[in-house]
């Protein structure tokens, strides 16, 4: 069962999903994003998709975490989410 976390400041634009997909496939989609944003009536939640495909944007050089780069409204919360799970901690 995916673990969903409320993402503070998120406005549900899915720019992060699009950026993630672009990193993986050179094309924009929701399908090829490693993360999923969902509306929860009082805000937006995020979860990694299963199976896990996030590679922390290896190969993007100093432009790591493309989702964080193109997020504006929830940048800090998103970065914390990505990092926490990467380190294996509680999101």
């Amino acid at each position: 069962m995916e673990k969903r976390v409320m993402l503070k400041g998120c406005v549900g634009c899915k720019a992060c999903e699009m950026a993630c997909s672009l990193h993986h496939t050179d094309a924009f989609s929701f399908r090829n994003s490693s993360i999923d944003i969902q509306w929860e009536k009082e805000g937006y939640s995020i979860a990694f998709k299963s199976p896990m495909t996030c590679d922390t944007c290896e190969g993007e050089g100093e432009n790591n975490y493309q989702c964080v780069r193109y997020c504006y409204r929830a940048k800090d919360a998103l970065k914390a989410f990505i990092l926490n799970t990467e380190e294996g901690g509680e999101a």
């Binding site: 899915k14 050179d26 094309a27 924009f28 929701f30 009536k41 409204r73």
Partner: protein
């Protein structure tokens, strides 16, 4: 560029076919493509509710791509309100989901015998029965779609108002986003088409130059980040305009009888107040981080309970100042009702305001409105009246026709008080904002400030901004709201810029219409290069968008018989001076307006007497196919519902 796929849906036969959109390449995307199809296929003798009318949904060149402003979906049809062209767009997540589902354009024709909705996923399109949601509100219908197809779908849906052919019924996207104005919902209702549902979980869109696009995006992100004024929009949504509008007479008070509101009202609607007290979260359109839609919950009192998205600046003007009601809860409730029943709130507010004004003046009596008592400030009964309009009950059945038509059912003197342009109920204020008002008056869809009106007139640009503006407009009256000079030039600039945004599926809020340093024609041309590989200069882009405008003008001439007199505001705006406040004494001047209109037609290459494009102008814009239509008189005088003496200014 690859223009993608047109899905053709014949609702009469249930058959669907696909074709390439490549032959419409010169229009780039969005409304240009849709309007060409409409012009070619809908005959002037067809009414908006004829099966032969087309309802066209159009993505833009950048739809499905990450970009500030991305996420807009456009619709085009023949308007039940004006009998001319109807175009509109809205946000939410429908646009990327439709394109990921595999479709760039959808053209509906005919009429289904039973209620249906179109379901799109992974390159497949199905017409499914809408029996279970027939008569249901937008909210109930979206609940149904999400349960049946999953929460990942987006919908473009009509409510009872559209099904009942309320003339200004709208289409609601994702519960709280609206393609308003012009009556799109009624056209869908006339076709028994309840909704389009798009599942975008499978497909993708490939940019031509991902690296170039990302560098351009970085630049745009920086521009937004470095501008404090722009952050205002992000912090408050369009509520950010409220304090400024209070200081510059930007509110319609008591149905426009004044443009100045009491201080207590301004304080009650202060954006900080609203946001801190009621806001739950913000939302954005697909691919755009600006996030200018607020979601509010009223916690106490009669309007307490639900979380409602929307209720932006327009709600405060429409249901607050225009009706003299100082209660944001009422504004939220009325907005929600309009979205859920599926009606354009600008039109609803106009007809309510008109009823209230005429009622107070004794021209409309209680027995004419089902025994109701509706002076300005009346909340409960006006909400009741909104429902009656949505369901066409009682006097709601007449009011559902819009103020131009409804007036003919009451005392003749009520006609003078209805605010409309080209038969479309009017939201815009005109007297103290000449450019803004002029853009609305000449707008091909009958009012509306998003297809040419500037919004910079009541701003005070700094030195750098003034320089930018001078370079763009080549006139210097951009911060002078009462000036008539220079306004045709500014409106012309925005006529092409707003259409360029629409053709790309981008929102005008990220253009220099919103903030002078934001995206201009060159920026859009750059984005076209990186996104779809189209090499086009800024000048050529402007010219193509002028061609879109001329196509609209010709459609209006052939279908509605609109000429110069339809670009004039109504008589009361030339007669009644603003009584109080910052714009005290302002009133429109016939001579100045006519001179401004002459000049506007000149710079467009249109006949000064009629306002119709000249043959050489159509030729210059590559529209030779339309020249024969000039040679005949307008085939159908579509706006005969506007009485002879309502068409203002025979001077």
């Amino acid at each position: 560029m690859n223009m993608g796929t047109i899905l053709r849906v014949n609702l009469t036969t249930g058959k669907m076919t696909r074709e390439s959109a490549d032959r419409y390449e010169k229009w780039i995307g969005g409304i240009g493509v849709a309007q060409q199809i409409l012009y070619d296929e809908v005959k002037p003798w067809m009414s908006a509710f004829d099966p032969g009318n087309r309802f066209i949904v159009a993505t833009g060149a950048m739809t499905g791509m990450l970009c500030p402003g991305s996420g807009r979906i456009a619709a085009v049809t023949k308007s039940p309100m004006t009998t001319g062209i109807a175009s509109g767009n809205a946000g939410g997540l429908f646009a990327p989901k439709m394109i990921y589902a595999g479709f760039e354009y959808i053209v509906f024709e005919g009429r289904s015998r039973k209620p249906v909705y179109l379901y799109l996923k992974n390159g497949e399109a199905k017409l499914l029965s809408a029996d279970e949601i027939s008569g249901k509100t937008v909210g109930e219908s979206v609940d149904y779609f999400e349960e049946k197809h999953g929460r990942q779908v987006s919908s473009m849906c009509i409510g009872p108002a559209g099904e009942n052919l309320v003339r200004y019924a709208c289409v609601t996207i994702d519960r709280f986003r609206v393609i308003g104005k012009c009556g799109f919902g009624a056209v869908m209702g006339s076709k028994n088409l309840k909704a389009i549902v798009a599942d975008g979980s499978e497909g993708s869109v490939k940019p031509a130059d991902p690296y170039g696009l990302k560098r351009k995006l970085d630049d745009i992100y920086d521009r937004i980040d470095s501008n404090a004024n722009y952050k205002h929009l992000m912090d408050y949504g369009t509520l950010c305009h409220i304090p400024g509008k209070y200081l510059t007479a930007g509110f319609s008070f008591r149905h426009g009888q004044d443009l100045n509101i009491p201080k207590e009202m301004a304080d009650a609607y202060d954006p900080d107040n609203i946001v801190n007290t009621y806001r739950v979260h913000q939302s954005s359109c697909g691919g755009c981080f600006v996030g200018c839609q607020n979601h509010h919950r009223i916690q106490t009192g009669e309007y307490a309970g639900k979380v409602v998205g929307g209720a932006p600046f327009n709600s405060v003007l429409n249901f607050g100042t225009k009706l003299d009601i100082t209660n944001y809860g009422y504004c939220v409730e009325a907005t929600w009702l309009c979205n859920d029943l599926g009606m354009d709130m600008d039109a609803v507010a106009e007809i309510l305001g008109w009823v209230m004004e005429c009622y107070e003046k004794g021209m409309i009596t209680s027995d004419q409105i089902d025994g109701m008592d509706i002076p300005f400030g009346e909340q409960k009964q006006s909400l009741e009246l909104i429902k009656m309009i949505g369901y066409r009950q009682g006097v709601g059945d007449i009011l559902a026709e819009g103020v131009a038509r409804a007036a003919s059912a009451f005392a003749k003197e009520t006609e003078y008080y209805g605010n409309h342009l080209k038969g479309n109920d009017l939201y815009e204020i005109i007297r103290p904002l000449i450019g803004y008002g002029f853009g609305a008056a000449v707008s091909t869809r009958g009012g509306s400030h998003v297809l040419g009106s500037p919004v910079c007139e009541s701003s005070k640009f700094n030195e750098a901004e003034r320089e930018m503006a001078l370079k763009k407009f080549k006139v210097n009256t951009f911060n002078d709201p009462l000036a008539y000079d220079g306004k045709p030039e500014i409106v012309t600039y925005y006529e092409s810029l707003t259409r360029a945004c629409s053709s790309m599926g981008l929102c005008i809020f990220v253009s220099d219409w919103q903030q002078i340093h934001m995206l201009d024609h060159q920026d859009l041309a750059d984005l076209l290069k990186y996104s779809v590989g189209l090499e086009i200069s800024a000048d050529e882009l402007r010219e193509r968008m002028m061609a879109v405008l001329n196509l609209e003008k010709m459609f209006n001439y052939c279908h509605a018989g609109f000429t110069r007199e339809d670009d004039m505001p109504r008589e009361r705006l030339f007669k009644e001076k603003v009584p109080t406040g910052p714009a005290k004494g302002t009133v429109l001047d016939y001579d100045k307006w006519n001179a401004m209109l002459d000049h506007y037609y000149d710079i467009h290459g249109w006949d000064t007497k009629t306002g119709i494009p000249k043959p050489e102008t159509l030729h210059k814009l590559g529209l030779d196919d339309l020249i024969p239509d000039l040679m005949q008189p307008a085939q159908v005088p579509g706006h005969s519902f506007i009485h002879e003496d309502l068409v203002t200014n025979k001077k």
